[in-house]
């Protein structure tokens, strides 16, 4: 478990810990001091750093070997030895007459002698007044380090769902800012799914993470200025400790069985039952016209399923009643045949591999570290996988006494394959009784004749169009998308010490990223055949294929570039032994830029790289007489480019008196090009101030069991921006395909009062450690008040903007909360330890002011965040009040007058608040149990107090059918609860599930689905408890390790997301609780 790491920053810090109490006489001769460094359990600490300090300067150092033993040269008995090891409280000894010095170090994991790294500076937690939460590599060891997103889950109070302390903005960014080794990173990448550039989490070798510090309040974050209102996550990577070369290797294998929640779905029997009901309720199948009607329905394939087709065949007389019954019974008995086939033939069990190798060495004036991480992920889709390699190299060089140079580079290469065809949406309507393999073992084909209307189908042969059959299992491997990504991040940092108390640092980071996406749609695929047919036309009685039949090749090139330049002057001096002042001022310039270009080639030959020119201008005008294909200019090419620039000035200062009383202040100005002409709004500074009191340092504090006690409070303003809003009139332009020239439309009207959003945070916190640091924790209260938040205002229809909303700075919103972190070493003996951590976060969000009301009732339900109601949380769910089923089995709700209705109430007064989607209470409970070489740990994550809209409804929706020229009931697999629906009068007394109203029924109306789906009975409790991780590790005994030159070795087995408990099956399903767990095997070696 012991990581052989020391922190350079840590080393600097040691400077302040000189114990001057017992100075002794000097002697001039050199001598050696040796000893063993152990932890509280008397186990040797490997790689602890021992430095010799003379006259306030470090003059030499060494590290402990694998037995925890060290030997070091000293010249004077007044020299002191400083023992440090990450996660432990450093210790200082004046050598005096001692030649053997055995040291027992105390763990600081539960203590407060940590440092806090804000990215701009490193300060001792003891001197901080802000709210910080720190997660160290020791804690992260318990889990698989696969992605940053899940890493912090349950680790930080107040951090839930990727958001810190709730939502603080309505339209701006809500994610915290991520900072790696001092540089903010907005990893903008191409998202092939949306076709847009999206801001993601930074890419890095996860095993390199030394610590993650989450900055929560204004005092902690205001140094980050206009982007800090959502909190800041600061990641620091590992450094090598002094001594011999350190090599670490690890590998993990993760297996996740394929799972699909078919048990919650209607099976074949349920579906046949519904299809029979469709027939028996259909008046048109009852008269003498029934055969003709049935034949027309068959011809137009409005319901292209085996069940309804068989029923209609019976009505036309093609099959007898016995044959029909036989057929329906056979189908009925198929269970989940389609889903089983999908699992068997179209999916696989995801499997993820990860390897990491790192090498590091630190000498007196150089520190080197390199790591390489390789990942190979195979996803459930058989042709979806990715491989990546990340190489991280850092070197810190002390050029002279006063000049330090750090350089680092991170290179990441990733290759992804993405299957574009999914058997679960195969391009035709399937039912649970359908198959992917025929009984003879051949692949099932959905025939065009079974889906298309009779006359559309006739076109294929009449006009020589391409076949429209779909064979799902053949399609799986076709049209795969590939993405090759490369990212580089390189930084240099120069640190010049003018004096011991004044230094200047200048740093520059350049980031480059490229994503090259390509998708070759082969001519065999249904997608190409369908596209070619859809764009064909007739000229002089011959069919013209305006898109030539052949491969279609789509490529997207995405480039991102960013640089950050920062210059900073740091001051740190103690006056008269008690007055300690630290300050910094600096300036930062940042630019982010990205470009996307998208191109499509038709009839592409991947071997000779040729393609056919098409007449896009004509196609865009609409030429197809057959199935009405549409062609847009972006189907040929599109480009976009964005550049953002920021210039900032900042400074902060901290004063502490006798380490007891702390005062901090911070100020920052930000300006950016995002606000273009309206620079008058850019001059508002972002600032904070904080106070702290280390009560335990007071002389009156003589209570023995209190080791630490600190009270701190802070107040300040954080900013936030919405990048896509501007104060001036903006129009966007494109080419008009119909009449030529450039067409433009106004995307935003002049809105001259736009400015930064401002969030004021008050934070009060208590840090404590009791009973020899056995119980430690933090209790915090915060009140974040967002003012001038961008909130939406509905465009005025008469002003011509009735469909759009625009944003003005007039929203106000409050987040109040309490956060508690408690950590206890319940048992602490040599062989057996048990410690537990409880994290609790309470967050209450309330919109205190907006000047908007939903102009139309359904917007309140569909876009609740666009029309917040004062007094309710921002992320609210609004619903109709459910009034039970009618005597006819129709859903009913209360309207604004309290009347029971079966139609959509159109008054806003009928729409009630039904809960918030953000957990009010969240947190985790984790425990770590060590017995000798075994380590068992687990983490339970809980969230309560929030709601979700049930979208997995036991009812049938409505979809538009081009064959029927109207909306029809979408008969398809749905929530299995539909079997408990209303069927006969009286059922309304014991079920809330409405009867099925088919499109052919006189009751049919769009309102029925709307009121049921949006009723408060379908707003369900989202409270959940999840065993997010359980791990068992075994550290191979030291004597075995030594035989194979290992410093230590560990085997670990994890299960991720073993179970989820939720209030209902629907909630569990929607929370992903039915997904199968991940099983992880890991091996960790240190040489």
């Amino acid at each position: 478990m012991k990581k052989i790491v020391a922190f350079s920053i840590f080393m600097i810090f040691i400077l302040f810990n000189i114990d001057k109490a017992d100075a002794q006489n000097n002697t001039k001769s050199e001598f050696t001091v040796s000893g063993i460094v152990t932890d509280e359990d008397q186990l040797p600490i490997i790689g602890a750093v021992i430095s010799v300090k003379r006259d306030g300067k470090i003059t030499g150092g060494t590290t402990t070997d694998s037995d925890g033993h060290y030997t070091i040269n000293a010249r004077s008995e007044s020299d002191s030895l400083i023992f440090s090891y990450l996660g432990y409280i450093p210790r200082n000894y004046i050598i005096g007459g001692r030649r053997v010095l055995n040291v027992e170090m105390r763990s600081s994991i539960t203590g407060l002698d940590e440092v806090v790294v804000t990215g701009y500076q490193t300060i001792s937690k003891e001197r901080a007044t802000g709210s910080f939460s720190k997660v160290t590599s020791g804690t992260l060891d318990k889990q698989r380090l696969s992605d940053l997103n899940t890493l912090l889950e349950g680790q930080v109070a107040g951090f839930t769902g990727g958001l810190l302390r709730g939502t603080t903005s309505m339209y701006g960014t809500t994610q915290p800012l991520y900072v790696v080794d001092g540089f903010p990173i907005e990893n903008v990448r191409y998202d092939a799914y949306t076709g847009n550039a999206t801001e993601g989490l930074p890419e890095l070798n996860m095993e390199d993470i030394e610590s993650i510090t989450v900055l929560k309040d204004a005092a902690a974050t205001s140094i980050y200025g206009a982007r800090a209102a959502n909190g800041v996550v600061v990641i620091i990577t590992k450094k090598a400790s002094k001594g011999k070369v350190q090599v670490s290797f690890s590998s993990t294998f993760t297996f996740s069985p394929y799972s699909y929640y078919k048990d919650g779905l209607t099976n074949s029997g349920d579906i046949i039952d519904i299809e029979r009901e469709w027939a028996s309720n259909n008046k048109s199948l009852q008269g003498t016209d029934a055969p003709a009607y049935a034949q027309r329905m068959l011809d137009s394939n409005i319901y292209p399923t085996q069940g309804i087709t068989s029923i209609l065949n019976y009505y036309t007389g093609k099959i007898s009643e016995t044959e029909l019954e036989q057929k329906l019974n056979t189908l009925s008995a198929q269970g989940y045949s389609y889903y089983n086939d999908v699992e068997k033939y179209a999916k696989r069990n995801p499997f993820y591999q990860q390897y990491n190798l790192s090498v590091g060495k630190t000498t007196d004036n150089n520190m080197f570290k390199a790591s390489i991480t390789y990942r190979d992920n195979k996803q459930a889709d058989r042709y979806t996988d990715d491989q990546s390699i990340g190489v991280n190299i850092t070197n810190n060089l002390e050029v002279t006494k006063w000049l330090k140079l750090d350089i680092g580079t991170y290179n990441y290469y990733q290759k992804q394959n993405k299957q574009s065809y999914d058997a679960l949406s195969p391009g035709y309507k399937y039912m649970p009784y359908d198959v992917l393999k025929n009984t003879d073992g051949s692949n099932y084909t959905s025939l065009a004749s079974s889906r298309l209307t009779k006359d559309n189908y006739a076109l294929i042969s009449d006009y020589g169009l391409y076949n429209m059959d779909i064979t799902p299992l053949n399609e799986l491997g076709l049209n795969r998308a590939k993405t090759n990504s490369f990212q580089n991040r390189t930084y240099g940092r120069l640190n010049i010490a003018f004096a011991e108390w004044l230094n200047f640092s200048s740093m520059f980071q350049y980031e480059y990223g490229s994503d090259q996406y390509s998708k070759l749609s082969t001519k065999d695929s249904y997608a190409v055949r369908s596209r070619v047919n859809n764009m064909a036309s007739r000229t002089n009685n011959t069919t013209v294929f305006n898109i030539p039949y052949g491969n279609i090749y789509n490529t997207v090139d995405f480039y991102s570039k960013a640089y950050t330049l920062r210059q900073q002057l740091n001051f740190d001096k103690t006056f008269g032994q008690k007055h300690q002042v630290t300050a910094l001022i600096g300036n930062e310039v940042r630019e982010n830029k990205y470009e996307i270009s998208n191109n499509t080639l038709f009839n592409y030959d991947p071997d000779i790289l040729s393609y056919t020119l098409i007449d896009a201008a004509t196609l865009a005008k609409g030429v197809s007489p057959f199935w009405g294909g549409t062609f847009y200019s972006s189907d040929i090419a599109s480009r976009s480019e964005v550049t953002n620039r920021f210039v900032s000035y900042y400074g902060n200062a901290a004063y502490s008196y006798d380490d007891k009383y702390l005062f901090t202040g911070s100020l920052r100005w930000d300006r950016s090009n995002l606000w273009g002409t309206a620079s008058k709004y850019q001059n508002k500074p972002i600032w904070s101030t904080g106070l702290g009191w280390n009560i335990d340092k007071e002389s009156f504090m003589t209570i023995g069991w209190i080791d630490r006690l600190k009270l701190r409070t802070s107040y300040g303003i954080g900013g936030n921006i919405a990048k896509d809003k501007a104060p001036y009139m903006v129009a966007y332009y494109s080419t008009n395909a119909n009449v030529g020239g450039t067409q433009g439309s106004i995307s935003s009207r002049p809105n001259p009062s736009l400015s930064w959003e401002k969030t004021t945070t008050t934070n009060i916190g208590i840090d404590f450690a009791l009973f020899k640091n056995r119980l430690s924790g933090t209790i915090e209260y915060y009140n974040k008040y967002g003012k001038d938040l961008l909130s939406s205002t509905m465009g005025v229809p008469t002003e011509g903007f009735g469909y759009s909303t625009y944003q003005i700075n007039n929203g106000e919103m409050r987040n109040r909360g309490v956060e508690i972190t408690l950590s206890g070493d319940i048992i602490r003996t040599k062989d057996f330890t048990l410690n537990s951590t409880l994290i609790y976060g309470y967050n209450k969000n309330k919109v205190t002011y907006v000047n908007v009301e939903a102009p139309v009732y359904y917007l309140q339900i569909d876009y609740p965040t666009a029309y917040p109601r004062i007094g309710n949380p921002y992320q609210a769910i609004y619903a109709y009040k459910w009034a039970g089923l009618s005597a006819d089995g129709l859903p009913q709700v209360y309207n604004e007058k309290g009347d029971v209705v079966s139609s959509v109430p159109t008054s806003l007064d009928a729409i009630v608040y039904a809960g918030t989607t953000v957990p009010v209470h969240s947190g985790s409970f984790s425990s770590n149990i060590r017995y000798k070489d075994f380590d068992l740990s687990f983490m339970l994550i809980y969230e309560t107090g929030h709601k979700m809209r049930n979208t997995f409804l036991p009812t049938l929706g409505t979809s538009y059918s081009s064959a029927a020229y109207s909306y029809i009931t979408n008969i398809t697999a749905t929530n299995k609860d539909i079997v408990n629906r209303w069927r006969t009068p009286g059922d309304e007394a014991h079920t809330n599930i409405p009867r099925i109203i088919f499109a052919e029924s006189p009751f049919y109306s769009s309102d029925l689905y709307s009121i049921y789906a949006n009723a408060d009975i379908n707003v369900i409790d989202a409270a959940n408890l999840r065993l997010s991780n359980i791990s068992l590790s075994y550290s191979i005994p030291r004597n075995i390790c030594q035989k194979v030159f290992l410093r230590n070795a560990r085997l670990q087995f994890n299960i991720e997301n073993l179970f989820t408990l939720a209030k209902s099956d629907e909630a569990k399903y929607l929370l992903g609780g039915y997904n199968s767990p991940n099983y992880v095997w890991g091996l960790y070696l240190n040489f």
Binding site: S284, Y293, W402, N456, L459, D462, I496, A497, F498, W501, F504, R538, Q567, N587, K621, G622, P625, G628, T630, S640, T643, R645, V647, R671, N673, G676, S679, A726, Y728, M729, V730, A731, Y733, N736, N738, V739, G741, T742, Q743, G744, I746, P750, N751, V796, P797, T798, E799, G800, G802, Y803, P855, Y857, S903, T906, A963, A964, Y967, I968, E1000, Y1004
Partner: protein
């Protein structure tokens, strides 16, 4: 404290660079792909935005006339459609029109664009005065056209004796957020329309850059339409003649028929043929989309409605074919492309001219104009020139052709409202539904459409009063 000389120099560099980066130019870069409009062509481009500026969705007028066929499922799905289509006088359409209505929203969006151009074009850069005046003139004509549609949908039809007292629609002439407006009278809106036209006319040319830019022909044709709606037949005739002098071409649908004969005549084949009626249709003065602004097929019509076309109407035969879907039989669209459902064509002007002539007793001249259109529509084997000896007969023939030619546009609705004010031409619509005869009287309140709730409840800087009780 020992200090080094070299680092002190660096300190100067640091201070210098601090002041250097303060340079404002660094932050003055603007986003790409979008732009703050400044040049005249930046503003002119707004006139090429078909979705934003050139759409007319008069669906509910078309539903009221039963010109479009609605399936039972659609009627169940859209209660407002059902109320209009089934002439349900008890239905509270104000409540049913409970959200947005494209007629209102798209028309005012177009007006806003016109207002923006009228306000900003005078100071637009990179242009001459003549160019600026021309762009402003386009915007004024388009604004007038929008107000004409709005007033003929949401307010009572123009009648000389009461136009000054009847409330009409909001008049807004500014594109700023929070711009104030006033709901004028019918006369007020017509006066505004005529004023806009008068101001625009001197700067228009016979040729405009695209069919989306009104030319002189558009202005004359629109004048003819406005004066006809005001029952000012002399003025209407005068402008109709001016318009036809600019463009009098008629498209020959009988040729189209013979070119696509096989497809048109094969009973069960619903493959569409390319419609010639797009942006560059030779009859266009000005092109404006109907409800959809993309290439599509037209709305279906009922079998009864198709029967109202003349025997041998090639255009109708090419456009719809009877089809049974499920339990319902109606005529589905068989041409695909763009349809000028909101612009102005020569056909309409010929028929305006015909009516004006008939109104002044020149029946044979009126029939001549009508026959010019019919000749290009009715297959030669069925074509017989029409004659009339009374105004009523002449109007009957003209109206039949106009209703059919301009089906699925707002014009037959506007005409019906105009005729409804004249006893001899007022018509009661009737049909049989499930054995019951239902009807819509010329005096019904349903001929005026209610404003959508979205506009009433979010009125902005002004107030809007409904012109109809339900």
């Amino acid at each position: 404290m020992k200090t080094n000389i070299f680092p002190i120099k660096l300190l100067f560099v640091f201070v210098l660079s601090l002041s250097f980066t303060a340079c404002n130019d660094y932050l003055d870069i603007l986003p790409k792909g979008e732009r703050i409009p400044t040049t005249l062509s930046d503003f002119e481009a707004l006139l090429r935005d078909e979705y934003g500026t050139h759409r007319l969705d008069a669906s509910n007028a078309i539903n009221l006339l039963n010109d479009r066929y609605q399936t039972i499922a659609n009627l169940n799905y859209y209660p407002l459609t059902k109320a209009n289509y089934m002439w349900d006088e008890n239905a509270n359409r104000i409540e049913l029109n409970n959200s947005d209505e494209t007629m209102y929203y798209a028309s005012y969006a177009s007006i806003s664009t016109c207002n923006l151009i009228i306000e900003h074009a005078p100071t637009a850069t990179e242009s001459t005065d003549a160019e600026r005046n021309e762009v402003i003139a386009y915007a004024k004509v388009l604004r007038a056209i929008n107000y004409f549609y709005l007033v003929n949908f949401y307010a009572e039809t123009y009648q000389e004796n009461n136009a000054a007292t009847k409330n009409a629609v909001p008049l807004i002439t500014n594109a700023n957020i929070g711009a104030s407006y006033q709901q004028l009278t019918v006369k007020g809106i017509y006066d505004f329309i005529l004023n806009d036209m008068q101001e625009a006319l001197p700067f228009l040319k016979s040729e405009s850059p695209t069919p989306l830019h009104p030319n002189l022909g558009t202005a004359y044709a629109f004048y003819a339409r406005v004066y006809l709606q005001m029952s000012n037949y002399t003025k209407a005739l005068e402008y109709a003649n001016l318009a036809l002098a600019e463009n009098g071409q008629l498209y020959d649908w009988t040729t189209y028929y013979s070119e696509n004969k096989t497809q048109i005549e094969t009973p069960d084949s619903y493959t569409t043929t390319a419609s010639p009626t797009g942006h560059y249709y030779i009859e266009n003065y000005y092109f404006r989309h109907g409800a959809s602004s993309y290439s599509s097929t037209e709305n279906p019509i009922s079998v009864e409605r198709k029967a109202k076309f003349e025997d041998g109407d090639a255009r109708a035969a090419a456009r719809w074919k009877v089809r049974t879907v499920g339990t319902e039989t109606y005529c589905v669209s068989t041409t695909r492309g763009f349809f000028n459902a909101g612009g102005i064509t020569t056909t309409e002007v010929y028929l305006i001219k015909a009516e004006c002539l008939a109104r002044s007793g020149k029946y044979s001249e009126a029939m001549n104009e009508l026959n010019k259109v019919r000749e290009k529509r009715i297959l030669s084997e069925k074509y017989v020139p029409l004659t009339a000896s009374t105004e009523e007969k002449a109007i009957e023939y003209i109206r039949r052709t106009k209703d059919n030619e301009l089906i699925l546009t707002i014009i037959p609705f506007a005409d019906a409202r105009r005729y409804n004010t004249e006893t001899k031409y007022a018509r009661t619509l009737s049909k049989v539904v499930d054995g019951q005869t239902i009807s819509l009287s010329p005096a019904s309140h349903m001929w005026t459409m209610p404003f959508p709730m979205g506009a009433i409840k979010n009125p902005g800087n002004g107030t809007i009063i409904q012109n109809v009780s339900k």
